[in-house]
C-alpha cells in the first residue's frame, strides 16, 4: 500500500533504472467471498491467477465442458472415427479416454511444479533441453492452428445451414460448398474472434453456463429423438444399439484401432483444464477433483449416447445420411439436424454454431500466450512477445496465429474438398504427438522424486509413462498409415495421403523452422536461457 514512508524520487537523478514501483491490488479483486471470482497479484498463491474456491463445483464443471465443446467436437469427429472403426465407435470413445487420463495426470503434476504459459514447450525444454522442447511447443502451436481452422470451418457450415433454416431455403445451405464464399465467410469469423481476443474481451460466467446447458440439452434431445425414430422405424438406416458396439476387440485391425484412438484423443482434448484448476485451491482440493470426475462423467455419457443414437439412426453405410458418406462425414450434425429434428433442427444449428464460435474465441487465446511465452524465453522472434499497452493482451501473437490459421484454411480449402475431415485427422495426430511428449517430460522431470510415494509413483511416473508411450505409438502407427492416399477423406497430393502432409509434414516443417531459427536465436538453442526459473525443483 502506498504511504508517506515511500521514498521520494531524488530530483538529481534522471536514471530510470532505480525507480521504485509500488504494487497493490484492489480489495475487490481478492478472492475473499465466493461471489468474487478474481485473482490477486501480490501473494505467491494469488500470482498464478485463480482461486478455485471462488469458482466452485458448477463453475469448474462448466469450464471443463466448455473447453471440450462437445457439440462442435462430435460434429467434426464422429464421421472420421466411424470411417475407421465402424460400429465400434462407442468402444473407441471409451478406450480413447484412457491415454488421455494418464497424460492429464502428468500434465497436472507439471503444471503444479512449473505453472507457465508455455506449457508443453516450457516443460519439455526443462526436461529434455531446448531442441525437444521447441518441437513440443511447435506441436502445440500446430495443433491450435489446425483446430482454429477446423472450428471456423465447422462454424461456416452451420452458419449457412442456420440461414437456410431461417429462410426455409435449402439452396442457402449449399452456399458453404462455394469455395470462395466459404473461405471469405471463414476469414470473417476468424477476424471477429481475433478482434475479441486482441481486445481482451472476457466471456462471462452466465454466458458460459447458458452455452454449456444449451449444448447439453440439444445433444441429449437429438439423441432421444434419433432413438425414437429408430423405434418407429422412421430412421434412415435403423439399427438397435448392440452390446457388440462396445467391444474394442471387434475393431478390424490395429491400424483402425490406432487411428480411432488418435481421433478420440482429440475429442477429449481440453479436459485437462479442469485438473489444473486444482492448483489454486488452498486447503480443500476436493472441488476440482469432483469437477473433473463430473465433467468426464457428463462427457463420456454424452459421447456414448450421441455415438449410439447416431449410429442407430444412420448406420455405417455410405447412403445419403450414412455415416461413411464422404459428403456428410466431415460435419455430421449439419446433415442430420433437419432429418432427425425436423423444424427443430434449427436449435441444433444454433448449438453447434455457438459451440464452435465460443470455442474459436477461447482457443485463440491459449496459443497466443504459448507463443508469447516461447518468444519471451527467446525461442521465437522477440516481436511475438509484444503485450498490448492498453488491452494487456499478447497482441502480436494473437494476430500471428490468426493469420497463420487463415492462410492455412484458405490453402487447404482450395486443395481438398474434405478439408475439415483431414484437419481433424491431422489434429488427432498432432495432439498425440505433443501430449505424448508432455507425458514423457513429466516422467523424466520427476524421475528422481516420483518413486518416493505411491501417489507420485502413479501420477508422475507410471501413469504418464504409459499414457505417453501409448499416444506416441498411436502417433507413429497412424502417421505411417496416413501415407496411403486413401487414408482419411481420400484426398491426396502426388500419391501421398493429405493427412500425412498435415501430420508428418507439419513436424518436418517444424524441424526446418527450428533449424533456421536456431541460427538466429542462438542463446536459447545453446541452452543458455533458463525456462521457468521459479520452478519447484522436486528432483
Amino acid at each position: 500500500m502506498p504511504s508517506s514512508s515511500q521514498q521520494r524520487k531524488d530530483p538529481g537523478r534522471s536514471d530510470g533504472a532505480g525507480v521504485t514501483i509500488h504494487t497493490s491490488t484492489s480489495p475487490i479483486v481478492r478472492p475473499s467471498t465466493p461471489d468474487v471470482t478474481i485473482i490477486g497479484g501480490d501473494g505467491k498463491k494469488q500470482a498464478k491467477g485463480l482461486s478455485a474456491a471462488s469458482i466452485g463445483l458448477v463453475g469448474a464443471t462448466v469450464i471443463g465442458v466448455s473447453t471440450i465443446a462437445p457439440a462442435y467436437t462430435l460434429s467434426g469427429a464422429l464421421g472420421p472415427t466411424v470411417s475407421v472403426v465402424g460400429f465400434h465407435l462407442p468402444a473407441i470413445f471409451l478406450l480413447g479416454f484412457i491415454p488421455m487420463l494418464l497424460v492429464a495426470l502428468g500434465y497436472r503434476e507439471l503444471n503444479s511444479a512449473m505453472p507457465d504459459s508455455g506449457t508443453t514447450f516450457t516443460w519439455a525444454t526443462k526436461a529434455f533441453g531446448p531442441w525437444v522442447g521447441w518441437m513440443g511447443g511447435w506441436g502445440l502451436l500446430a495443433s491450435t492452428v489446425l483446430v482454429l481452422s477446423n472450428l471456423a470451418g465447422i462454424g461456416v457450415d452451420f452458419f449457412y445451414l442456420l440461414l437456410s433454416q431461417i429462410f426455409r431455403n435449402d439452396a442457402i445451405a449449399d452456399l458453404t460448398r462455394n469455395v470462395p464464399l466459404n473461405v471469405l465467410t471463414c476469414l470473417v469469423f476468424m477476424a471477429g474472434a481475433c478482434v475479441i481476443s486482441y481486445r481482451g474481451v472476457e466471456e462471462t460466467k452466465r454466458f458460459q453456463i447458458f452455452l454449456v446447458s444449451f449444448q447439453l440439452l440439444i445433444m441429449v434431445g437429438f439423441s432421444v429423438v434419433a432413438i425414437v425414430h429408430v423405434l418407429n422405424g422412421s430412421a434412415f438406416d435403423g439399427h438397435m444399439p448392440n452390446i457388440e458396439w462396445f467391444n474394442p476387440l471387434g475393431v478390424d485391425s490395429f491400424s483402425a484401432f490406432s487411428a480411432g484412438v488418435s481421433l478420440s484423443v482429440f475429442i477429449y482434448w481440453g479436459w485437462d483444464t479442469v485438473l489444473t484448476l486444482n492448483e489454486e485451491t488452498e486447503g480443500s482440493d476436493k472441488t476440482p477433483g469432483r469437477a473433473a470426475l463430473l465433467v468426464i462423467a457428463i462427457v463420456v455419457v454424452l459421447y456414448l449416447l450421441v455415438a449410439c443414437s447416431t449410429l442407430a439412426y444412420s448406420g455405417v453405410g455410405d447412403g445419403r445420411l450414412g455415416l461413411t458418406n464422404g459428403g456428410i462425414q466431415e460435419n455430421v450434425f449439419a446433415a442430420l439436424a433437419t432429418p432427425v429434428l425436423g423444424p427443430l433442427g434449427i436449435l441444433m444449428s444454433i448449438a453447434v454454431l455457438m459451440s464452435s464460435i465460443a470455442s474459436l474465441q477461447s482457443t485463440m487465446v491459449s496459443p497466443a500466450r504459448t507463443m508469447l511465452s516461447m518468444s519471451f524465453y527467446g525461442a521465437l522472434p522477440k516481436g511475438l512477445s509484444r503485450i498490448h499497452p492498453k488491452f494487456q493482451t499478447p497482441s502480436t501473437a494473437t494476430v500471428t496465429s490468426t493469420v497463420v490459421a487463415a492462410v492455412f484454411y484458405t490453402v487447404m480449402r482450395f486443395v481438398s474438398e474434405d478439408v475439415l475431415w483431414d484437419t481433424i485427422s491431422a489434429l488427432g495426430l498432432m495432439v498425440c504427438f505433443y501430449y505424448g511428449l508432455t507425458a514423457l517430460a513429466c516422467v523424466w522431470y520427476f524421475r528422481k522424486s516420483s518413486l518416493r510415494s505411491v501417489r507420485t509413483a502413479f501420477s508422475q511416473f507410471i501413469g504418464p509413462l504409459l499414457g505417453g508411450i501409448l499416444l506416441l505409438i498411436f502417433f507413429v502407427r497412424t502417421t505411417i498409415d496416413s501415407f496411403d492416399p486413401a487414408y482419411g477423406s481420400g484426398s491426396s497430393l502426388f500419391g501421398v495421403g493429405l493427412v500425412f502432409y498435415l501430420g508428418a509434414g507439419m513436424i518436418v516443417l517444424g524441424l526446418v523452422v527450428m533449424l533456421v531459427l536456431s541460427r538466429r536465436l542462438t542463446s536459447f538453442f545453446r541452452g543458455e536461457v533458463t525456462v521457468a526459473p521459479g520452478a519447484v525443483d522436486r528432483a
Partner: protein, 307 residues
C-alpha cells in the same frame, strides 16, 4: 497535493503524463503515476489456460513504468504504482482514494479521429462516477511546461453562481489568470451583449471578490450550436478549461453534462471536470482543490526554468 496520472505505454498515456507534469510544476503537486493491470475473471482465466501470463504482463508493466519515469523531468516528484483491479477506471479511483489525491489526470481515447477529446471507456466511467475532479488531456497534447491560464465554462443563468464562485476562489488561490467562458447557441447580434452582462452580474453577486480583478475576464463565444461557439473562441496553449457536472450527478460526484460533452468534442485544450457542488474549503467542504492549496508557481519563471 497529489495527482493520479492514469498511465499506459501509448500515446494516450504519454499525453496524460505530459499534462500531469505541467500541472505538477504549476501547482507544486506530486504525481502518482498509476498503471492499472487488468485482473482476469476467474472463468475467463480458466478457459484461457493457466500459467504465468499475469506475471509476464506485470514484468512488462514495470518496464513501461520505468520508461515513463525517464520522461518525467527531475523537478517533478513522482511515484510509480502498479494497481491490479477489475478495470482501469476503478483502479484509478481506488488509488486516488488511497493517496488522497486532488484529481485524476487521463488522456483521450483515439476512437473518433476528428474530435480533440475522444471519450473512451475509461474516461467515460470516470466522468460519470468519480468523486474528485477528472482532468483529460486532448489528443496530441504536448505541453509539459506549465499551466498559464484557467478558463471556466459557465452559463449566464443563476445556477452557475457556484461555478463562478469556484472560479474566483481558484484565481485567489493560484494567481493564475481566469477567464469565465460562456458558449452561446446564437449569433452575437441577437445576443447584444446580454450574456456578458449576465455573467458579470454573477461575479457581482458572488460571495467572493477577486484579489486581483484585472486577472478575471469574461468572454462569450457565439455560433450555431455549442460546437461552433467553442470554435469561435481563442483557446490559449497552456490553458485548461474547468467545467461543472450535470444536475444528474450525485452531490460530490461527477456526471458529464450534455453541454460539456459537446464542448469536449471541439475543445483543443485540457478539460477539468469537477464534481457537483464542488467548493473545496468553503461551505464546510473538506474536498481538496484540484489546483492545490499553494499559490501557483509563476508561469513565466516556470517557462524559463523549463527551457
Amino acid at each position: 497535493m497529489r495527482y493520479i496520472v492514469g498511465y499506459s505505454a501509448d500515446r494516450r498515456g504519454r499525453e496524460a503524463l505530459n499534462l500531469g507534469v505541467a500541472l505538477g510544476r504549476s501547482m507544486g503537486a506530486e504525481l502518482d503515476v498509476v498503471l492499472v493491470l487488468k485482473a482476469e475473471d476467474a472463468y475467463a482465466g480458466a478457459l484461457r489456460g493457466h500459467g504465468n501470463y499475469a506475471e509476464l504482463v506485470k514484468e512488462r508493466a514495470k518496464e513501461w513504468l520505468r520508461e515513463a519515469a525517464e520522461s518525467v523531468p527531475a523537478d517533478v516528484v513522482a511515484r510509480y504504482h502498479l494497481r491490479r483491479s477489475v478495470n482501469a477506471a476503478t483502479g484509478l479511483m481506488e488509488m486516488a482514494e488511497s493517496v488522497n489525491a486532488g484529481a485524476i489526470v487521463v488522456g483521450s481515447s483515439s476512437k473518433s479521429s476528428w474530435l480533440w477529446h475522444g471519450i473512451g471507456s475509461v474516461d467515460n466511467a470516470l466522468l460519470h462516477r468519480a468523486p474528485l475532479p477528472v482532468i483529460i488531456a486532448p489528443r496530441g497534447y504536448e505541453n509539459s511546461i506549465a499551466i498559464t491560464a484557467i478558463d471556466c465554462a459557465v452559463s449566464p443563468k443563476d445556477d452557475s453562481i457556484g461555478l463562478v464562485e469556484e472560479a474566483i476562489a481558484t484565481l485567489n488561490r493560484t494567481g493564475i489568470p481566469v477567464r469565465l467562458v460562456c458558449m452561446v447557441d446564437g449569433s452575437a447580434e441577437e445576443d447584444e451583449g446580454r450574456v456578458k452582462e449576465a455573467v458579470e452580474g454573477l461575479i457581482e453577486d458572488s460571495s467572493l471578490t477577486p484579489d486581483e480583478p484585472e486577472k478575471l475576464e469574461v468572454v462569450v463565444g457565439h455560433g450555431r450550436g455549442i460546437s461552433e461557439a467553442v470554435e469561435s473562441l481563442d483557446w490559449k496553449e497552456g490553458a485548461v478549461l474547468m467545467a461543472g457536472s450535470s444536475k444528474l450527478a450525485q452531490k460530490g460526484e461527477l456526471f458529464l453534462s450534455s453541454t460539456t460533452s459537446k464542448i469536449l468534442a471541439k475543445l483543443p485544450i485540457p478539460i477539468v471536470v469537477v464534481p457537483r457542488e464542488y467548493h473545496p474549503g468553503r461551505y464546510g467542504s473538506e474536498a481538496q482543490p484540484w489546483t492545490g492549496q499553494l499559490r501557483a508557481i509563476d508561469p513565466d519563471r516556470a517557462r524559463k526554468t523549463g527551457k
